[in-house]
Subunit: 254 residues, 8 copies
């Protein structure tokens, strides 16, 4: 049975923990209610990273208010899928925020950032996959993990990839960003013994179906160690890769 | 304007060609009407190869009757997608027909077969792609073209392919048969300067969607010289490859 | 530039390595050609685990021959998607192989197996997801990693999951196997700071579309650290999870 | 047999009801023919609420004419999917109409509105689901039913939802508006004994497929008491919830 | 804030409730762990009806064990999607269970059943929709609600429906079961002021796509008060209708 | 306004028509309620042909009972999609019924059949389209219209079609039955000035998608006078063609 | 055998018809080659109506040139899918052309138009279906057939339709234009004995899928005499309906 | 075994080839790394044509830099899918580049171009297919092969095609560009004995699904010698056709 829960109840019984505090903790910690949003101030403790703001389709003033609340709670704040109009609002209010216009992210850290640990390698099949790769890279950096990019090494010219074989084999995780035929992760997965996270991009035309073709290729990769995220989901690939890298270098230290 | 037509009409006018014969030729040559089928006895002249029988879903007696009609017209006869029950009927009637149970084809040539010309290379990504490859190979052979098979060289182990690079580069056409991620044609297309015909197979599970994933990969191949046929359409890939090979070696001789 | 390559060439130049051996290594190591299959004997060195046999649709005699070749090369052998007929053939020839009829796998290890390292937690949303979970578990065990199963903790009764919160938070990787609405990974991903690998199953009816609904839910999971594999791809989830766990406990020891 | 019909015919026979009036009633009551529209003035009697105007793609002058006709017939008038250009036209003509720019609705009641009965609870998974929630809320209000909103309680932070458990369990109907993975209704359905109406929204990217992923999740919800409406169909969810709530509080009074 | 939680904690503090019991309640009540299943013994309290067993694809012995556990806990037990082989196992063990072979359900009540309340009307468009309608009806009966069936009143002969107009207008909820074009709910929704739950069936051929066509029709119904469930999901429609009916007649009595 | 209705009401008023009879007529004429089916005995009067029984998935005893009821009402009876088991039941009871095993129809006329009027031409692209063509032909015959079949004139050998140009241009309606690429209706539509009804068949493999490819081709036919029915819907094409032909020859005689 | 062909050849033989003229006729009559277009001047003779210009995506100068060529050949000219920019170009050049901005058609007749024959009835389910209905109506008028429109009679208010029953039953063809659920043709088909041509429109949102939902409903219509055209294909429905009407009134006169 | 590799190693051993040069060649030749792109300077040697720039979605400055690098390496440069804004940038920098605004390509040759060899025939079904045909033609020309265009010969007027039969039968390859029903390749494939490459275009509306309907028709073509490329992939069809033509006329000369 859940040990943490029993301990808490015993502390309530003994009076060590007041009822109010226990109730807050049992309901999952702090939530800041803005009416249009319930800012999850417990995410950092629970998942190892604060709530991330998905900006697409949101009113700029909503975004700014959530950033303010996280910032006020001394939590660093990452935003993704920022339009240039939204970026203007956020930067007006937080001029020190780090904005990547290609990757459409912003990053507002609290306090000094630690040295990155681990090493994630991000590959792209083509040049047009770079925006998604940038979202990935900014996410990994924000999470305090080391990251390296090798762009435009698609399978139509295998030697472009093979000359980087040394790099591939020494990374902790390899992220492969590819559109069109999405064939690169299958090839990479057959060359290394590290997990490969494949990110399909909405690049291509006709039967590329805005990334569906690449996604299907990746889900059906003939190499075993390949997992996949949503189309254009650079953020998710970066987030998961950073979780893995941190687990290797930090999580086991205790 | 159509020169052949004008010549024929002038011959009608001059009496060199009787009206009946001219009418038959103008309507596209001989058709043998079996009620349930109109056997196209003009296909050999028009397209370079007799009508091929697609057997799936047909009553065995229908198949046998069409074979008889083609045979009687001194035309060789190729059948595809033959069930074992259908095969029994055909072989009972034509014991000398060549039956490939893996590729589900039969071949009943008329007269001695000429030496094959040209060289088509058929690759498969996996072992389970072999039935489709066999349909391809039997078609190419029936059309009088040379063919060679290299099985199980999918991209999860690139070196299995790369050791055959010499073969790849000296073929007239390369046919790549692959299911699951269908990534092999993209890689092959980046290594050679010959046309690549990709055949998706219905191999795989889940999002392989009975070959749709592989088909999409192939249609979106990042290598330029790749064309595609229907799922499991080994026959079509072989037929087109043979047309190309014959054109290189025979068609231009005149 | 590729350091390993230059060193090898210098050894060729100096005569330390004969030309034949260098050529073999440059072409990616040993391949055993069976005609219908090119057994990749280099996979263990390259990817950390020998070639795995995907059995679906293969002639039992083909399977047995590949097992024999791997076994003869002193490599352990895992097979997946085994029909009961195929299982009979394999077990006749290798009576000591470990066969899991629910997960449809066999495992034929070479030599004594080391103690498992790490801990992967496998959850299923329902009882009907158990066959896929078994494929996952057998894969993880074969790769030498520790694994634990908690079945039937879908979101229709959240408390079934929440009582295992302690287990969830101390695993190295959590694998969530779910069909129908596929909602469980989203919930799990919001509770932990470890990577979550989601496996959609073809369980459900109507618009479950044989697992497509669950797959889409997982790809769109609102929790960040969730990655996905193909429908029913228990093997792939297990394989990747084991790569991660081994990297945490072994890979960094050197 | 249809009792009402026989009574009417007997009244015709006895002369109590003239032929003209009987014919009108037998054909379903009043219709106002505008050429481009047949305004259904019988809807209120038949379905308990007047005809609602779906504005998308309609010429603003058409909309205004239908509003005028309903208004002239002393029927309240609700409009949905109003563009800002259409809104301008309607408000120019009916300045007292209630316009919700976020939910894109207008509401032009006739006479004083009664106090709302019942209580419908509207949840959204995220902030970006608010426009659809607003369409729902305006519909429920127009139908004279009480409604309450709790926004941004998606499953990535379960405690945001669980702290409102008291509210959930005392509502008459719960409407859950969610995009992306659409997982919230499954969780809510497992916590309550009231009907849950799920509204998928077109929020998300890639394989969200403009709300299809969320719709499929909802149709496959593992919780039993969940029904679903079209993507972004806030109006329909609100309408049906109000029918239920009115039935509980009003319909049975007679 | 959650009132029930605070009261419980105060009772823990005061010693009125022991820590063990409080922990069990906080984790959601009783679960019976069978290894392959976690039987949710709290469902009745939480959702108003015990856990229902979805039998498709389950080992008959698994089903029997879950029934035994629910039965032992004095909870009534409903099973759906029962194959005839599974039915044999269940009836061998519980000969008094009520088995509906057309609807593929069984029902094993505990204690005497109360008189049904409310009235749900189930319509089918055709005769072939009857199996799904039976699943609906058995579910409604098991939940203690009154139910009535009118079969084969599809829109190709409107008068078949219109003669039952009296029945339609006096029901609490109307469930419409239809395949092929799925047009019946649109028509019914335009005739009544009660909620309509539409159930698409996998009846039809070609572009019926196993119920997808009917589902889409229903999701797009031009009548407002129509909600939808999964294809062939008679159980869900019945369950939700019964929740509504019980709420009207029972839920508000307290 | 509806003239027929007003006349009827005046007759009720004057006592010429009793209330009961008027009610029956106003509700659409006679329905025979079998519990599992509402046999529409008014269809012949309303639509020009009695109710047709779609047999797929129905219990043979249900079918026999509906036939008996129609027969007893002196109405001819057509059934489609009959399995051989169902056929046995029907023929046991009505040995004189006309059964077409290829087209899977039966036809039980009442009284002597009139000479056929008009001429519908049915073309098939291939031999495998014949079962669907037979369903079409039996339907047309049952409706008393003349019909002619030309099989296997697909576009791969245009001359097979062009030699029948005289027939094509003198038909009242041309029905084209085709699977695979479904290209034949486009070609036929460009050659004639009569309406063309295209019937896609589920013939082909891979991306034929059980007739979807042919259906899409037909819906997108570049020839203007082509309309389409459901996949394999030979019955519907035949029914509509017969309606047109009867209208030309009979409907305008009055 | 083709009688017309043999007669022509005999005339060639006898010198009655010169070779040049015979060749032209055998190749299908006159074509006017504009480089970017081959204007089919034989369409009127072959199909009963001149070539119709599909304008979508075409350069306005191309359109004008084709109109000029048809006009010069004394053929009337209909254009569809005209953008307003294209319309400006065409009307600048042919100010007398009849332009329907709602239906996006233009019509440039040659010589006086005959009185219309027959009667086609066009119904729309909603007001937003009017643009497609206009395309239909203009096509029917151009072809010399009588046409009548009844708008906004969708099934959510059946009496709006039923009051027009007299009109429905006396038309030669009924065209039903509907989006969203597309249910209207099923209802209409059950009320009449004339052919019904259903036109799905891209009206609706979410799972309307730009008309796919309505199309599927129509293809699966439970009423027998319903045929379907492409989404928004008002032109095709009108064209086919006019072919039928002309056949009834004109075609049989000879 | 790979002969070329062994020879190279022997030259390394004997000192004929220095280690550096051998390493470069073994890694596939020269790559020029621009950071955002790895320009493949080896493509010409390997595949017979330099790397082609796919411009869609790329920053104009990126494109210009890649052109500069290829140009500096004395390689001709072809670009496809150029927006007019991108074209302006490229032409500013390389005013002599050949820009086709309809086909959206540019071509910057190095040195004098040789006389074209072979003959590829490009057909379009309609006028709106011309942009895709232009992309095809520019590709073929750039590759040094002869090409001819016949536009607007779709199957709705077969004689437009048949009058060019002489041309069709004497080409080396026929490319058929078609949207809507995509029926033209099936017809052409039945008339000739040369390979047919079918290019579906995104022309049409409704169920044309942006070229999917045409693609499916082509993949299912009932004529055997038809292969297919991606929707609108004029470049790929041209590239493959040129490879075939060059092989016939040049490749075999050595």
């Amino acid at each position: 049975m859940n040990q943490e829960l029993i301990e808490l109840l015993q502390q309530v019984k003994s009076g060590q923990v007041p009822v109010d505090l226990a109730a807050t903790r049992l309901m999952g910690g702090m939530v800041s209610d803005l009416g249009f949003a319930q800012v999850d101030l417990d995410r950092q403790r629970r998942c190892g990273f604060p709530e991330v703001i998905y900006c697409e389709g949101k009113d700029p003033t909503w975004i700014v208010q959530v950033v303010e609340r996280l910032h006020a709670a001394q939590q660093s704040c990452l935003g993704t899928r920022l339009s240039s109009e939204q970026a203007t609002h956020v930067l007006d209010r937080f001029p020190t925020a780090n904005y990547d216009s290609l990757g459409r992210t912003f990053w507002l850290p609290v306090g000094p950032e630690a040295d990155p640990v681990g090493r994630v390698l991000v590959l792209t099949a083509g040049t047009v996959d770079l925006p998604v790769a940038h979202e990935t890279i900014q996410t990994i950096k924000a999470m305090g993990v080391g990251v390296e990019l090798i762009a435009d090494v698609g399978v139509a010219g295998l030697h472009r990839l093979l000359r980087h074989l040394d790099h591939l084999r020494t990374a902790d995780v390899v992220i492969v960003v590819a559109g069109m035929d999405g064939a690169l992760p299958s090839v990479v997965g057959g060359l290394v013994d590290v997990p490969v996270i494949a990110v399909p991009t909405s690049v291509g035309y006709g039967t590329a179906f805005h990334g569906v073709a690449a996604l299907l290729t990746m889900l059906n990769a003939c190499s075993a160690g390949v997992v996949t995220v949503n189309i254009d989901a650079g953020f998710k690939a970066g987030y998961t890769a950073a979780l893995i890298a941190k687990r290797i270098y930090i999580g086991k230290e205790g």
